[in-house]
């Protein structure tokens, strides 16, 4: 903020600093819980709390045993593999179908645009418990419950809205005359799509895919209803850990997940800037 204007009274100033303090407190509220779990995950004791030793910075009170436990435990290894497997597969499906649809929806000639958009975005709005119950009833008839295929399809449906939103946002800055120009030069629509449209909307596609991946990676309600023991994912493993036996392994996993989200955030920010630059050039 710029220096305070001279006409500010004491009350204005109080308001000014009050706002600053308020904003700081809210940011602390947002960040503190995430920061607290990091040191706790290095607890040498099997508890969720800071021990005397940790507070006095005694090196013996800290240990990496819970990280070792993740590596040693078959369940966590399977869960990590499953999470990436399901996440990547679901994000791929959502990205391919979602990108195509977003291109269609961006066309000024698209019929029933409003209804179809609302329908395609609805997986984001309908409560997960309802989706889970419905999918459990419906997928059972196709023997999809307790299979990777079922879980991947379910997560792909959840990821679709994010791809549509991000790709549509990129397309809104896209100059349609490029498409028309390509066509008028005799290229097939598919070739134009591939050579002209895709490179331009790539940042949106990638960030949509990332959103879809994270959605699947973080999702637990559908997993609870649709997955069998062989499809356990990281969040599912955390969920049962929190319900049954709380120990710092969960905090170690949580810490790793925070690092992962920070990385994704960084990638997305880079993509956003790139996209803004590309659009600036047009």
């Amino acid at each position: 903020m710029s220096p305070l204007p001279d006409y500010y009274t004491i009350w204005h100033k109080a308001g000014h600093y009050g706002l600053r303090i308020m904003a700081a407190l809210v940011l602390i509220f947002l960040m503190l819980p995430i920061l607290v779990i990091m040191p706790l995950s290095f607890n040498a004791e099997p508890f969720f709390t800071f021990t005397q030793g940790m507070l006095s910075l005694d090196p013996d009170a800290y240990s990496t045993r819970w990280y070792q436990e993740i590596v040693d435990d078959q369940k966590w290894r399977i869960a990590i593999r499953n999470s990436f497997l399901v996440g990547i597969a679901a994000a791929s499906i959502a990205t391919v179908l979602g990108t195509l649809a977003a291109v269609g929806l961006a066309s000024p000639w698209m019929p029933f645009k409003r209804v179809i958009t609302a329908l395609l975005l609805s997986p984001m709005i309908v409560p997960l418990i309802i989706i889970a119950a419905g999918m459990f009833f419906f997928y059972t008839q196709f023997n999809l419950v307790g299979t990777f295929t079922g879980l991947i399809i379910a997560h792909a449906a959840l990821g679709v809205p994010f791809v549509i939103i991000t790709v549509t946002a990129t397309l809104s800055g896209f100059d349609r005359s490029l498409f028309v120009a390509g066509l008028s030069l005799g290229a097939s629509p598919i070739k134009v799509f591939w050579d002209v449209v895709i490179p331009l909307i790539r940042p949106g596609v990638i960030s949509g895919g990332l959103f879809a991946f994270v959605t699947s990676f973080d999702e637990v309600v559908l997993v609870l209803f649709l997955a069998g023991p062989e499809q356990r994912t990281i969040p599912r493993q955390m969920f049962s850990g929190l319900r049954e036996q709380i120990n710092p392994t969960i905090l170690a996993v949580a810490t790793l997940l925070v690092v992962l989200s920070a990385t994704m955030l960084f990638v997305l920010e880079a993509l956003r800037r790139r996209s803004a630059r590309l659009r600036g050039k047009e």
């Binding site: 204007p5 399809i153 949580a254």
Partner: protein
């Protein structure tokens, strides 16, 4: 000036149609996928809430014979005998438990009657059963002599029923088929409580989110971008990680209690976890970015020189904010509020993990009927009501905010 011939018009129309088709074809694969993966399951759930063929499949003959029964007296001995034979068959192929569950929902207490009867008749002789089935059934338990039992079987035998919706709003059919209040009033209370909690959470996110978004919108772009990281990092962090963090903070030996004890403010740990308080707190934390992001997007576009002008002319800042700034930031506020409200009404995970018994919301009771009581039809009915509520909110959102305006990050 009618230089356009009918030929040209037809051409234009044809081209128009082709373009519409072309655009539509891009959407078709996803549309089919969503219809299968998402819309069909939801429809199945709606259907399930009124459709329950279990009893009709288990005892079809008894039900057919019951059609002619007057409903007031004990049914004809032939019907009772048929029931006895069915009981033996169900005991043999172990479906009596399902039958017991279904009848018990129509008439509580029948579960134990049917199960013990099934055990009693399981090894009965077929010929004897055909001859004396009625007496044998009546000898097993005197509730078989009550017309209410048979009415329950008849009503549970209906393949299409509205009774699950009645239960979902704490009503039921009485013996005469009139709609009355159920003895236990749970679900209406739970819906009210869910809405109340969602309102509190929405209010809290507004209270916390507004000043933060305002401050960020007034800060220099560099500062704002830097602060944005602190909003986006929690937003991108797994929901389970954030819930875990709150458990670590709030539990009996957790960080908050230890700090309060160390500071001498309390002597014994206070109960912060597994109640409504912890649910609201954790959900406010989890949903706060959904409020800050749309608010910030709108506020960044507001020219605050009006505000400064008003203040420099001696208007009091709060008055100026109320008259000038608030109306301009209202689109962001309403987008954030509707978003937070919609998400929190249907929330499941956080209440399930930190809610204890009094922090449970409607989603949790749906999950309970799906997973624990196995009353899938009631779960479907409760889910359908929740779905209607959400769709109304979604419609409002689309009307006042527009789904086109949904932005991420």
């Amino acid at each position: 000036m009618s230089s356009l011939s009918s030929q040209d018009a037809a051409n234009a129309r044809r081209q128009m149609r082709r373009r519409r088709l072309q655009a539509f074809l891009f959407v078709v694969p996803l549309l089919l996928f969503i219809l299968f993966a998402f819309v069909a399951p939801i429809t199945t759930m709606l259907f399930r809430s009124v459709y329950n063929p279990t009893v009709a499949e288990l005892v079809p003959e008894t039900l057919t014979m019951l059609e002619d029964w007057d409903g007031e007296t004990l049914p004809d001995p032939a019907v009772v005998t048929r029931m006895a034979i069915d009981m033996k068959r169900m005991a043999g192929n172990r479906t009596s438990g399902r039958f017991a569950d279904e009848i018990n929902r129509a008439l509580p207490g029948m579960s134990s009657v049917i199960k013990s009867t099934a055990r009693g008749l399981r090894r009965a002789d077929d010929a004897e059963l055909a001859a004396n089935g009625a007496e044998m059934l009546l000898a097993e338990n005197d509730r078989w002599a009550k017309p209410a039992t048979w009415r329950a079987i008849r009503s549970a035998g209906q393949v299409y029923t509205s009774s699950y919706y009645l239960t979902a709003v704490d009503l039921e059919y009485d013996a005469e088929g009139e709609i009355i209040m159920r003895d236990t009033q749970i679900y209406k209370q739970l819906y009210t409580k869910t809405l109340k909690m969602a309102l509190i959470i929405t209010g809290l996110t507004m209270l916390l989110g507004y000043p933060l978004a305002f401050y960020m919108s007034q800060a220099s772009p560099a500062t704002a971008n830097f602060l944005m990281v602190f909003v986006l990092l929690p937003f991108w962090t797994s929901l389970l990680v954030r819930t875990t963090a709150w458990i670590a903070l709030l539990q009996a030996g957790g960080v908050v209690n230890s700090t309060l004890i160390w500071a001498g403010l309390i002597n014994e740990p206070i109960e912060l976890l597994y109640n409504e308080f912890s649910t609201i707190l954790a959900m406010t934390h989890i949903l706060l970015p959904f409020m800050v992001l749309p608010l910030y997007a709108v506020m960044r576009g507001i020219d605050s020189s009006f505000m400064r002008a008003a203040i420099s002319m001696g208007s009091n800042p709060i008055g100026a904010w109320y008259k000038i700034y608030l109306p301009m930031s209202l689109p962001g506020l309403s987008a954030g509020a509707l978003l937070v409200f919609i998400i929190s009404v249907g929330y499941y995970i956080t209440p399930a993990l930190v809610g204890g018994t009094d922090g449970q919301m409607i989603s949790n009771i749906i999950a309970f009927h799906m997973q624990v009581s196995n009353n899938w039809e009631l779960a479907a009915a409760l889910g359908s009501l929740l779905l209607i509520l959400i769709l109304v909110l979604y419609w409002l959102f689309d009307r006042f905010v527009g789904t086109d305006n949904l932005k991420l990050g």
